[in-house]
């Protein structure tokens, strides 16, 4: 392939429990319709969603003709956690979406922080709390207390996964964490 045809690929990973809004958030940012492998939900997932992502979501942002950002959404169910390390390999950073209406969002937070600990240590993490308008607790300072407990620092924002502005701000915060010197 000639130099003129070389395409540079980078990726940002979205993760979180079932129904947190990963698919929707990627859709908000993607330049192309996302590829989503949804299957009819079974088990406990069915109570929260009709479909759930069995493998992963994929979206793309075109920075230029020869540079792309791949947006990967991990499958939300734990039995697919073997995929997570594959997906994160080489990623810029992690966006963790947590659904505030779930039974134990703080436990969800602890779980995903542990699952992605190595990747977070090497890169960067931003947390988006969805559906906080439907259920106001836990409050954001409780999420921060959990982060303090495990010694991880990360922005925590309330987001609407359908809002491009909100999801864009998550990505921006991710980048600025990696490089505060980045100018606007």
């Amino acid at each position: 392939m000639s130099r003129a045809q070389t395409v540079n690929h980078h990726k940002i990973i979205f993760t979180g429990p079932v129904g947190a809004g990963k698919t929707t958030a990627i859709q908000s940012l993607s330049d192309a319709p996302i590829v989503s492998t949804d299957a009819k939900a079974q088990d406990m997932t069915a109570q929260r969603k009709q479909t759930t992502t069995v493998a992963m979501d994929y979206g793309i942002m075109h920075l230029s003709d020869n540079e792309r950002i791949h947006l990967y959404g991990t499958p939300g169910q734990e039995r697919f956690d073997f995929m997570w390390s594959i997906l994160t390999d080489g990623g810029i950073g992690l966006i963790l979406l947590l659904d505030n209406t779930r039974q134990a969002p703080l436990k969800d937070l602890a779980f995903f922080l542990n699952a992605f600990r190595d990747f977070i240590a090497k890169t960067s993490l931003v947390i988006g709390v969805t559906r906080a308008d439907l259920k106001t607790t836990p409050y954001l300072d409780e999420y921060h207390q959990e982060l303090d407990r495990v010694g991880i620092r990360a922005p925590v924002f309330q987001v609407d996964a359908r809002s491009r502005d909100d999801v864009s701000l998550l990505v921006q915060a991710l980048l600025y964490q990696l490089d505060p010197g980045l100018s606007e």
Binding site: H10, L29, M61, H62, L63, S64, E67, I69, I92, A132, D133, T136, Y139, L140, D141, H144, L147, R153, A154, P155, V156, F157, Q158, V159, D160, S163, R164, D165, D166, S168, L169, L170, V171, Q172, A173, L175, Y176, Q177, L178, D179, P180, G181, L182, S183, E184
Partner: protein
């Protein structure tokens, strides 16, 4: 003719071809009198939309959603009537364009250069004044015609020659955390949103003791001080508080992270800005008194988010300054990031937050390190301090590095794409 106002009126173009943009720029700099400049979307005061391109109305709607109170001048061969838009029919003369720009500037209550008004420009189509009403979550808020702020309530201009009479706010009042996000949005739209939350004061020499005095303000002499005194006391008692104002009492309910503000956004801003000879009185409310006080909560005047209110009051009061007594040389550390998706964003907020989160840095050094105006840093600090998000730490073992991160180029390209499509 040069602008007499000092501050260029910034314009973003929407849907225009590069050739047209280049021509427009030449006109603005030359025969237009050089009081307008082209700018990026985020920093613009007004927009000019090419109304004859495919998708023009979609572009208009998108921009209106993003910047609800920004005047938009629509260029078209047809007469187009859109809410809060100034229609300019093609072909038009330069002075007709300049008249439209003056109307846009007047709509923002900014002073305009004196020029004769051309009769050829269609008047702006202003939406009818909309009383405060909660809106369905999915609807686009209607933008009422902005009324000029009462003179007494206007923020006092700073000593800077380019100070605007009313600083602007781009308020992120979607406030999903708040139980009444639509009310917060309606509140923000009810008055004219100032453009800049940080005031207009130029940087000062922080080694000059005389100049240094202009950098600080005393929260205790403002509404802000009373709010914080009330909150400090009531949090310990797990109670609510009532803060008396010249309008009506503000009710604070810290246990529910909410408050009731029975006044307009403009009134609250006016109260925040004015130094007071006597700070507003406050009192703790018993549970019965709290219930009585909150009976005035209604659909038209619901509860608001406490954090959002404190943040805005701090920004209005500070206007790019620091609370009295802050050490400029003690490194600042963020306890944690503010909820920036639900708070009015000040310029460079993300960068400042990222720096203070990663490497505690003094208020003296932060503007230099990030190459940003002092007022941006100080405004952000004051707002974070109002939410108790900042602390002063010991100096870092190593000063923050200004060396570029290897992926900086990539990150810049990502940011450009994110902002371009916003």
């Amino acid at each position: 003719m040069k602008s007499t106002t000092g501050t260029p009126f910034k314009i973003v173009t929407l849907g225009m071809e590069q050739k047209a943009i280049d021509t427009l720029e030449m006109v603005l700099r030359g025969p237009g009198g050089d009081w307008c400049r082209l700018s990026a979307a985020d920093s613009a005061d007004a927009a000019i939309l090419e109304g004859d391109r495919v998708g023009a109305l979609t572009l208009f709607d998108q921009h209106r959603r993003q910047y609800p109170l920004r005047p938009i001048i629509v260029l078209s061969v047809r007469e187009i009537r859109l809410k809060q838009a100034i229609s300019l029919k093609k072909p038009f003369k330069i002075d007709e364009l300049m008249t439209a720009l003056r109307q846009a500037r007047q709509a923002l209550d900014q002073p305009v250069p004196e020029q004769p008004v051309s009769p050829a420009v269609a008047p702006p189509v202003a939406a009818p004044a909309v009383p405060e009403q909660p809106q369905p979550k999915s609807s686009v808020p209607v933008t009422p015609a902005p009324a000029p702020p009462p003179k007494a309530a206007a923020a006092a201009p700073t000593a800077s020659p380019d100070a605007a009479p009313v600083p602007s706010v781009r308020s992120r009042t979607k406030a999903a955390s708040e139980p009444h996000r639509t009310h917060d949005a309606a509140q923000a739209l009810e008055t004219e949103l100032p453009r800049d939350l940080c005031g207009y004061a130029p940087d000062v020499d922080l080694n000059d003791t005389t100049a240094l005095k202009t950098v600080f303000y005393d929260p205790a002499q403002h509404l802000q001080g009373s709010l914080h005194s009330a909150l400090r006391a009531t949090r310990e008692q797990n109670a609510a508080a009532s803060v008396t104002t010249i309008y009506r009492a503000i009710i604070l309910v810290p246990s529910r992270r909410c408050c009731h503000i029975p006044m307009t956004e403009r009134q609250l801003r006016a109260l925040s800005v004015m130094p007071l000879s006597r700070p507003p009185q406050w009192q703790t409310l018993s549970p019965l008194e709290q219930r009585e006080a909150l009976k005035q909560v209604s659909e038209a005047n619901p509860l608001s988010g406490l954090e959002n209110m404190l943040w805005r009051v701090a920004l209005w009061t500070a206007r790019g300054r620091l609370p009295l007594g802050i050490d400029l040389d003690a490194p600042v550390r963020l306890k944690h990031w503010p909820n920036l998706t639900r708070l009015p964003l000040t310029p460079q907020a993300l960068r400042i937050a990222a720096l203070w989160d990663r490497t505690p840095t003094s208020l003296r050094n932060t503007p230099t390190l990030l190459a940003v105006p002092q007022r941006y840093v100080f405004a952000f600090y004051s707002a974070c301090a109002a939410l108790d998000l900042v602390e002063h730490s010991a100096p870092a073992a190593q000063p923050p590095s200004s060396d570029p991160v290897p992926q900086r180029g990539l990150f810049k390209r990502i940011l450009n794409v994110l902002r371009r499509a916003a």
